[in-house]
Amino acid sequence: MIQACRWLLLAAALVLLPQAAYTQKKKPPRGGEAAPPVTAPAGGAGAPVSADADADQPAPAGQTPGAPAADANAGVVDICQITPDAPQCVNVKEVNLGEEAKKPVRAEIYAVEQQYVMKAGRFEIQPYWEFTLNDQFVSHNGPGLALNYYITQVLAIGVNGNFYEGLNEDSDFNFQNRRSARIAVPLNQYQAAGDLNFTYVPMYGKFAGFGDFIFNYDAYIDGGGGVIRTRPEAIIDPNNRKFDWNNLINFDVGIGLRVFFSRWLAAGLEVRDMIFFDKLESLTVATGPTTPATAANSPLNPNTWYDNNTHFTNNVQLQVGISVFLPTSFDYRLPK
């Protein structure tokens, strides 16, 4: 029993040792030592500032004169005394805060000083899943991928592709409607689509969530054109009609929202309308003989399978995905 008590005391002592270290107060500076000179990085206002260095930190003293900067730079000096070859210690020179304070201050202050994410010159990879919003008869859900290159902070050029084949789904509503009203509605399936797009980002901002955290977002519009491959489902005359995929020109416009988790990762939500003139199955069946199949009024002649008119179609889809910006880091041209 006595041995157990000794073990317990030993264990308690071992546990308390590191805790004692936690509660030590910060040692005051040694008496008699001169205060280290106030220094700041030599980079001027035009030097890039790394976003990864955390833009929320106070700006260097050379760029924003003021007392708080002195504290920040004192830390820099300490580090430089220990490791003079550290990156932040290279090209460090002494700054006279009194002289710096006399310099004229550029009074212009931007409402949003630094955008959280700089996009110019970066690639965006945007995988997403799309959901049909406006087709009551056949849903065209499927995966998609967009690749964009930002020419400027607000303008990008890119391509996107959607894949639908095997994922087109006939709705129950369609069946109920057909059975009750005895009418057949021509249905079309989509295989894939590809578009060349321009993206414009006119809006950005930030939200405070629960008064506790801040997240940044931007909103964009995009538009372009490309090709979509569709084909009718054989509803009216399934015994004779077997449709091939048709290449159709499409135009697309969209509006989207991105919420940034970091400077290179965002969640995206977009509503996109793909506009094209679709070729639908003919509601009438040719009544001629089946042989020869190429006869003008043969039900086996593919020329009799399609409606004479093309039909203006809006395929509105909701796209939910993520955005990855490459390279993952960037430099600000101006400090915060």
Binding site: M1, L8, L14, L133, Q176, S180, V185, M203
Partner: protein, 291 residues
């Protein structure tokens, strides 16, 4: 001896583990010094909501309509208890002039046969064998009015920059409540007694009824000024109703086949989505400013 040793080891482990939990709490302490110590996250913030009444005339548009499109005009009333919680109601009414048919309804009206096979489901004028065409839209259900007491939760607020020139305060909200929905749908028929036979042309008339359904929505409010705001909201109002007045269920396996009766079994679940645009006016006209 062995038992004591094991006891001692266990006691040591427990002793070591207990303060390890404490360390987690210690790590949460942030010692903030300097001029920001104790300062609020945002100073002089306009509290657009706290303590203010809001009346917001609203126009709502139904989405993904199968047979009818509806535009509802109404208003939202809110009292904002805090900047993040409001209590209020949304109400809207759809005049007949604001209710139209979809292209599908028009096509059915034009092309659906009026015969013995469709006599229960498609409006007609006569009886066997002389079925004449009657307007299909007369049997389509209508969404007439909605009243929805609701709570609004505003978790996010911030600002939005447009074209790098216009800056507007914005908040994001989630609203939820109970919707009392006035609809008209095809009256029950085919049960016998006082009910008409469903192939009777008179059975295609609509009957008013009320549905009680949950309602929830998300929205953005933009504050261009202290007194007024603009809003856009997406709302769902899910409940079951018989949009086309068809007899589609009631007999056969799982009741999935028509039974020549129109009743509650023929109602199908719909999410009933709307997008609403509001212009809000808040009282008092000046918002509070935080410290």
């Amino acid at each position: 001896m062995k038992l004591r040793f094991v006891t001692a080891i266990l006691a040591s482990v427990v002793s070591a583990a207990l303060p390890a939990w404490e360390r987690t709490a210690q790590a949460q302490e942030i010692e903030l010094t300097g001029p920001l110590k104790g300062a609020p996250a945002v100073r002089h913030m306009r509290l657009y909501r706290e303590g203010r009444f809001e009346i917001a005339p609203a126009v709502s548009f139904t989405l993904l309509d199968q047979y009818r499109r509806t535009i509802l005009v109404g208003a939202r009333l809110n009292y904002n208890i805090t900047d993040w919680l409001a209590l209020g109601a949304w109400g809207a009414y759809a005049p007949d002039a604001f209710i139209s048919t979809t292209d599908l309804s028009d096509q059915i009206d034009r092309t659906a046969p009026r015969d013995a096979l469709t006599a229960v489901n498609v409006n007609h004028t006569g009886t066997y064998p002389n079925y004449g065409a009657a307007p299909f839209q007369d049997q389509l259900a209508k969404l007439n009015w909605v009243v929805a007491p609701q709570l609004t939760f505003i978790p996010f607020r911030g600002k939005l920059a447009i074209f790098n020139k216009i800056f507007v305060d914005t908040d994001f909200y989630v609203a939820g409540g109970v919707g009392f929905v006035g609809i008209q749908e095809r009256a029950n028929c085919g049960e016998g007694g006082s009910e008409l036979v469903c192939s009777d042309p008179k059975s295609f008339t609509l009957q008013s009824t009320m549905k009680i359904a949950p309602t929830f929505g998300i929205g953005l409010t933009f504050y261009p000024g202290d007194f007024w705001s603009l809003g856009v909201e997406y709302r769902a109002l899910p409940f079951s109703w018989n949009l086309a007045g068809f007899d589609s269920r009631g007999s056969g396996p799982n009741g999935n086949f028509p039974d020549t009766k129109v009743n509650g079994e023929d109602e199908t679940f719909h999410f009933n989505q709307l997008v609403t645009i509001t212009v809000g006016f808040s009282f008092p006209t000046k918002p509070k400013i935080s410290e």
